[in-house]
Symmetry: D2
Subunit: 255 residues, 4 copies
């Protein structure tokens, strides 16, 4: 019979009464000595980033914190509060919304970058193959609101270029993403924005994060905006605030 | 009829196509220039912390990231992954668990500190009154596992003392919390640990955070460990891992 | 050391390979022989209801399944689907919303009925005492949309009266709820509706359910509408549908 | 500019003050006249089932309500309650767990049945093709605990046979599922159980439900057990009950 203490196994944390080691570091040595961004890296990857790596990583985390109550996640957080939920439950309701369509584009973009990079053909052939399997929309490119430029992307890309110039990262994924942006704009016949997911995916790919972590890190980052909005709504009050005022309702489609 | 654009109101974010302002700052000015910890503070409070305030705040965020798969939240994240959930859904399942008992002690501790501070009687009278309303357990003090010392608390308290010595914070809540620890240890007749909730509550109270944010910030902090464990479990695989191996099951209580 | 198999204890289910007993009944004896409503009663209470009890209980379950996409829960379910969530995650996001304000009124109404019934004074004195502690809004009475009558309440009350006439229930909570409705309408100077929560609370109280189960059973009932809306939205498609069309946004309040 | 009332469209509910129509039926005509199972069918599909269809449907709903605290969903509900969550939040935490692996097997089984039925080759060829794409595990067949028989499946299959004899359903999916069970048992060289997902999938397929609804209906059904366990744990009390007693913990894997 297997021993129950074997049921969960982890390399993340080791514990005895009075002692907590996180990724091999006594917790008291981390507190006050590493930044929150470094701590995030350490916890999800196991190694400690350099200051320069951490700075680029931190820029990505800072960039994605909020996109307003029009986003389903932020709206959900605010609605939840007016239903009487505490902050943890409101945050959970909102983070749950960050599925394939809302929170998964960063992960898909990292996957696409790796797919294109390892493709035997040229960029156009690779992207055409990608679209054949996944559909026309290229994750990380285009924005229904910010046209023609999502202000977060150029700033993030400039930081990647700086980091590449200093040898912190390679820069290859930045080249690739800009190539994709040019190709898809050419296809569309109009300039298409690289969006927050496309740009943060460049950073996560440059820093060697596995694709699913682009989603997980987006969840961490957006949790900041979610908390801020949930708290603001808590202070505003309101009861059972649905998506629109009661006077608007919805359209009944007679079947 | 109220206009629908009035239905949600926020001072956090202002947006037009191509422009995103967060708390009055163009997002591109924040990216690469503020730390993730500063960004969290800015988003939830509206003002930018000084470097010294941000450092103390960051220590609290770093300290609470994980307490292992014995905690219901971390266990929930790992279980969720083996049920086939993506990282966002696993994180939501886990953060949802951070209710009054699991994630609310920090909030309750801040409330207790304010209650004691504004009480007309002495410390013992104040705490006795607190217990009369809320029960014997003082939030933030005692730990069922770390006896007699939770290694995170002394380190955090030392950082508060440093910050107080530099005039960053007042130090009054640190005095108060140590007074409570002495009082409750005296009542119990054995040394009782100040735990992570008691110590981070000192920091949040010193920095002027409203009590419910102690819970919200704990959720942000613990989300890091939650993500790390969810990702580790994803890599380990496993299907439908319940709390214990199938061989153990549960006890049937004949009614 | 406690044995791990003692960690979870239940009287609900007893299991061996090839055998499942629910509340003492072999599962194969229940399947095809009891209604879903009876099964719900059996599982949460442990005993099997009579046909007449089950019929009244079933009416309450049927009555609360949906109130449209204006309700935060239903809206959350539809939003979740457009974020790429599967039905289980969409349902969870929605049920999570059924907090004190959105899903808790039935529980509060049952508590209020018991409070009034056990109060030493008359109805007005009891309700005045209730309001002093809980605020002016009486849970289960008044509706911001259905004025002056919520069509579900009179039908449910008629069924309670029928059941009382047949000796299935006592009818005392029905008298009490109508007394409350008259009192609060008199206070307001206009007829105030008994709403779905007030009426189902009468049924749950008449049938002897503990107050928190009024919330739990509402969650079960509303889960039906949640599933229906989540599925309809799945078939409609749509991506990242926030609360309002992107053209509407929100109001920025300059701090 | 699109009108905001067009943003959500539904054929499920039509509402005016004092009037609620569900799928074209005034709500007061449904209450007390249709069973909860009929109401579920009506809401998710739009038409009213016959009594015989409803009876078979109801058997499926009854069969899947619980499989004990060893299941991650039920464990999550109980853990949630000990973290201080209300019943709605505990139920949400648990339903969220019913992902592809835990709650999706019914949906996958319906999909597999349709795949096999529309395959041009014989059963073995069809299943071999299925395995080539989806892996060796056939959804709905085999059980890690109930060997060789899951007691729920034979009872459900007998009810399908009765319904087929009465012309309520066709019976073709029942034949097909038993064929699959024989084939996979033959492949394994030992009798393999048809499990709850395989058997309820037969019913849902026979009754013409789309595959994703097999997951959605399982969520509704299991919500009953989830509520029962959450409520039982609420009455038991307990604080922060993790998966195993604190004395057991987990295994630390040195990296």
């Amino acid at each position: 019979m297997s021993d129950v203490s074997d049921w969960w196994r982890t390399s993340i944390i080791e514990m005895e009464p009075g002692r907590i080691n996180l990724r091999g570091h006594p917790v008291q040595d981390l507190i006050g000595n590493v930044s929150f961004a470094q701590m995030i890296w350490l916890m999800v990857r196991g190694d400690m980033p350099s200051q320069a790596q951490a700075a680029l990583f931190e820029a990505a985390l800072v960039s994605a914190v909020d996109h307003g109550p029009q986003a389903p996640s932020i709206a959900a957080a605010r609605m939840a509060v007016t239903c009487g939920l505490d902050l943890n439950n409101a945050m959970a309701s909102a983070v749950n919304m960050l599925g394939d369509v809302h929170g998964g584009a960063g992960q898909q973009a990292v996957e696409m970058y790796h797919f294109v990079r390892s493709h035997s053909g040229d960029l156009g052939a690779a992207l055409t193959d990608w679209q054949a399997e996944h559909g026309k929309i290229l994750p990380g490119f285009g924005h229904r609101f910010h046209k023609p430029t999502d202000p977060r992307a150029p700033r993030l890309m400039a930081l990647v270029r700086e980091a590449a110039a200093q040898g912190v990262v390679d820069g290859g994924f930045a080249d690739l993403a800009e190539g994709i942006q040019a190709w898809v704009s050419d296809q569309k016949g109009r300039p298409l924005a690289m969006n927050i997911d496309g740009a943060t995916a460049v950073i996560y790919a440059e820093l060697g994060f596995d694709a699913p972590l682009a989603r997980g890190l987006f969840c961490l980052s957006r949790s900041v905006g979610i908390l801020a909005h949930a708290w603001e709504q808590t202070q505003q009050g309101g009861r059972n605030k649905g998506p629109t005022p009661p006077s608007y309702r919805w359209t009944y489609d007679k079947p």
